[in-house]
């Protein structure tokens, strides 16, 4: 893991070490843009990546529901389903690496 990070991060050439606070971006795939567009209104994708990969698809669904119910995220059912599917496919336990 350490070596992988070292190689990967070295590609961020030219970026000062301590200035690396550019938030991480989500994995590409169906729903990635929708997820970023809605979720990043209130928080960076750090929150999603940090909480992976250990939540089940059902737990991700519960997180999306919480964002709607408790935090007033303006997601209609279709958007919520798209985001939930994306998180389940990309950031759930047992999902794709």
């Amino acid at each position: 893991m350490r070596l992988v990070l070292v190689i990967g991060l070295a590609l961020l050439a030219g970026r000062s070490a301590l200035a690396v606070d550019t938030p991480a971006a989500l994995k590409p795939g169906p729903g990635a843009e929708t997820t970023a567009a809605y979720c990043n209104a209130c928080h960076t994708s750090d929150y999603i990546i940090m909480n992976s990969p250990f939540l089940s698809p059902a737990a991700w669904k519960a997180e999306v529901t919480k964002m709607r119910a408790a935090f007033a995220a303006p997601l209609d059912d279709a958007v919520a389903a798209e985001i939930t599917d994306y998180l389940a496919a990309n950031y759930a336990v047992g999902g794709k690496p």
């Binding site: 893991m1 350490r2 992988v4 990070l5 070292v6 190689i7 990967g8 991060l9 070295a10 590609l11 961020l12 070490a17 301590l18 200035a19 690396v20 606070d21 550019t22 938030p23 991480a24 971006a25 989500l26 994995k27 590409p28 209104a41 209130c42 928080h43 960076t44 750090d46 929150y47 999603i48 990546i49 940090m50 909480n51 992976s52 990969p53 250990f54 939540l55 737990a59 997180e63 408790a70 935090f71 007033a72 995220a73 303006p74 950031y91």
Partner: protein, 402 residues
Amino acid sequence: MMHRRAMIAGAGSAVLGPFPAFAEIKGLPPALPEGTKEVARYANLPEKKRLICLADRPPNYATPVDVYTEAVTPNDRFFVRYHIDAVPQPVSLNDWTLTIGGDAAERPARLSWGDLLDLPRTEVLAVCQCAGNRRGLVVPHVAGVEWTDGAMGCATWLGPRLRDVLKAARVKPEAVEIWFSGADTPPLAGTPQFRKSLPIEKAMDDNTIVAIAMNGAPLPLLNGYPARLVVPGWVGTYWMKHLNTIEISTTPLTSFWMKSAYRVPAGMFPVTLPFKSQAAETTVSITEMVVNSIIADPVEGSEGERSGFRIQGVAWDRGNGIKRVEVSLDGGATWRDALLDRPLGPYAFRRFSLDTGFLRRGEYRLASRATSNADERQADAMKVNPGGYHNNVPRVITMTVT
């Protein structure tokens, strides 16, 4: 921008020197979620030196563990934690006001900064620790900010007692809770503001203050400038930053942050002062901290010499004070008593140290275990709860003697 993983995958067999930001983070244990290790990075913020960023918006930045070799955490290394994307602009002190109202305020009041300075002040050295500190080490992992050790700090807080502030509005005898909110405003109109409450007994406590200084200096903006609540012994969620509104109330606060978040199973963590007005059938508000300790030196993954080295760190609890810290070099199989520095106060970090003496080569699993003056000792096993709160299982630091 490409995703980091995508870049990593495309890196091929490039052989390059250690990357200074990620590779150098000291003390991050392998047990953290993979995604947490991916996002964790050093960062500098205004008024801050090198913290570990877990999320930049809302800002959640941890203190690097080696800072806890000292009993007082410097302001520029003190952790930062916000729930919503809401850091306010620094207010001019000439414009600052503290509004005190509520149905149990006999005479609603508005205090200026000058009014606050006119009140008698007191000082308390106290640990501010996020309820979810060490959540990242809870197995199985639970959702939240995946802190390692750094969601805490100990500082000298100066300011008027809350009870003296409340006098301006004349507290009616039927008051049950004091409600608090700060200058942070949520990003969306419908997002609930971060609001918390205290039971009247804790609000009136000698040590509960409205801090206007931290370690002899104004509070850093990201720690609540210009005034924040300080609730010694209680977890950080009650320490309202950017405090500007107080309501003295005959009823319990029903905010999301009281009723849904920051709750633990009833009976799991005994406390000396129950928060009765917030108790439900199966859960209660998380309030008093549990006894805990951390080794700050050496850090995870480091190397030591056979001639030995000093193990050092800090211990703390809900305000009884620490009477004993034991250190293990074998992951908790055997324990030795550490030396304690003199106590700096019941709510403060107490430093401990142990000189190892000569050691054989090999891997060592260091751990510390504190006992309070109330004879409470760190848990042998995690008391599993949905929020991953109160993780006070002895923290094992793996290192090597060469």
